[in-house]
Symmetry: C2
Subunit: 341 residues, 2 copies
């Protein structure tokens, strides 16, 4: 079936023409028929002629815009794109816009899946064995109950199955120790609940230290801790990258050393930049709502589109709906819907 994908082409740091190249990369890697609808300043989207329908939108939602700001910006590419998602019954949407605004606008327009109490932002983190560890929530909420965490576990599991093809994703709860008795009051209770419902693939608690070692496919945490976690990995990574540069600048010999190691350094920096691993996604909404990083280049944007495509193929929204419909809340039902993949 032909997928309809809505593209908010604005708000990327590198500008719309860079994203235009991303769309072409996506098509080169994913042959097939798509209905692509690109929203943004039409003069910047001319490169998509013959590839996508171009919908003109004159406003751009600023990165730091709040919930109220975005809802007022009816002429913005983000709001127009979300409205098109609804009216065209589209399969996926991708935007580089600010998280807060995107979350608010999408939740208001598309609504939460019945039974889901909170949307969650899930991110693909590169790990030490060259695969992906999904972490959620990394900032849709700033506090979460144990029940939310249990719902995140289910959403994360289905996401990981659909996008990365793991049949039984290994799911962990982030905590301050690996023993079951460790954790915040909410994380401890969530682990107990997950155990009681025999949650598939549940491994127990995980510490920050092991989080990217490759043992975990999905890590569940509250939005506050998850956001601190994500930004801390980013900060330490950045510092280490600078330290590596310093190593090579120590003296003439180390500079010569750099000539030999340069390629490896660049490869490493690219591989560990989670911004290049595709989009994150707002889970729990009636829609495939992919968030590409504001600093996305063409490659990152093309992978964000690919995430959207895979999630639509996997019918992730329907799968989640079925799972969460079996009970007033998945947290009390013990329901463990299987993915359609």
């Amino acid at each position: 079936m032909k997928q309809t994908i809505i593209l908010d082409m604005m708000a990327a740091d590198k500008g719309a023409p860079e994203l235009v190249e991303g769309v072409k990369l996506f098509l080169a890697r994913n042959p097939g028929e798509y209905r692509l609808v690109a929203v943004g300043k039409q003069e910047e989207l001319q490169g998509l002629k013959g590839i996508a329908e171009i919908i003109d939108a004159r406003d751009v939602v600023p990165m730091e815009a709040g919930a109220r700001d975005v809802l007022r910006m009816k002429e913005s590419s983000m709001m127009k794109a979300i409205e098109l998602y609804e009216t065209l019954k589209a399969d996926a949407m991708i935007s580089c816009g600010g998280t807060g605004a995107y979350l608010s606008a999408a939740t208001l327009k598309l609504k939460l899946i019945p039974g889901v109490e909170r949307a969650a932002l899930i991110v693909p983190m590169p790990n030490a064995i060259g695969k992906i560890t999904n972490v959620l929530d990394i900032g849709a909420s700033n506090e979460n109950s144990a029940e939310h965490l249990v719902q995140f576990a289910e959403m994360g599991r289905l996401f990981n199955q659909a996008v990365y093809g793991n049949k039984v994703p290994r799911v962990y709860v982030m905590a301050n120790g690996t023993e079951d008795k460790k954790g915040s009051p909410e994380s401890k209770k969530a682990l107990e609940m997950l155990k009681a419902m025999n949650f598939p693939g549940l491994q127990g608690n995980i510490e920050g230290r092991e989080s990217l070692s490759g043992i975990a496919d999905v890590i569940v945490t509250d939005g506050f801790t998850g956001n601190v976690y994500l930004k801390t990995t980013e900060g330490v990574f950045k510092i280490m990258s600078n330290e590596i540069k310093k190593i090579f600048k120590r003296n003439l010999f180390s500079m010569i050393g750099y000539l030999f190691a340069k390629k490896g350094v660049k490869l490493m920096q690219h591989r560990w930049d989670y911004r290049t691993t595709g989009g994150s996604m707002l889970l729990g909404l009636n829609g495939v709502i992919v968030k590409a990083h504001g600093s996305s280049d063409r490659v990152a944007f093309s992978y964000a589109m690919e995430v959207g495509k895979k999630l639509a193929e996997a019918n992730i929204v329907d799968t989640m709906k079925k799972g969460f419909a079996n009970a007033t809340s998945a947290t009390t039902s013990g329901s463990t819907p299987t993915s359609t993949t």
Copy 2:
């Protein structure tokens, strides 16, 4: 005045003889008169003859011991050391033992400073400008109220003044965004309270991304988030160290490159290992209770002793007592005691 320092010489991964060398390093760097009391298996402490009083203790508290375990182990070096701290009215104590056991035993024996509701574990993190950022709590509690966070700010401020000599330490609250409205419910309320009391040096919220950039002297967070934070930096650092090794193993040329860069790599790895930056400390107790890392080598142990010495010199316990005595709780008093340094 001659300081009395109690040393729990057991429980270090590298063994007591390594710590014996650490004591000698400390003395070489810090000339002066001390009463040193070393507790542990006497046959392993012979190197301290003529330097320290040796108190035999046959048991070692295991790293993973809980609160109840340690209190039963009356013949352990840790319990004996804490008792000696009390009976000798010592100035500082250092142990490499497990955090949970150490915290429980020290709190039970020495009690919290009146007005302090929770002890906090503070850690010195190396930052990008080659200085130290103190983070607390990194795991004494697994949840904290806004009032706790405000008390941590005051304890962290006094600690940073005393150990690192910053007159007005720049204090931040860890959050999921830099704006005042960002944060967990507790961290937001704590920031409000700190602002209302004109807390000296208060800078506002900080994200994980900037936490080690060097802008912060003290970062306050709850024990759960702080523990995830600390272990995440450790995990990412470890992964990056391995990645650097991989870069150099790519081919013959990069291996040659390593010969030129080796020294810089080792220097960097050492500098960024927070275990080598001295001890963390249990703040809020009636005592200078320094926690050296279980993996401490002689250098790390010598710096942990130095932290103890500096805190005792600064009369940090008295300073905290005065501050917290001015009100039923520092959180409602707005009291901002000045350090004696």
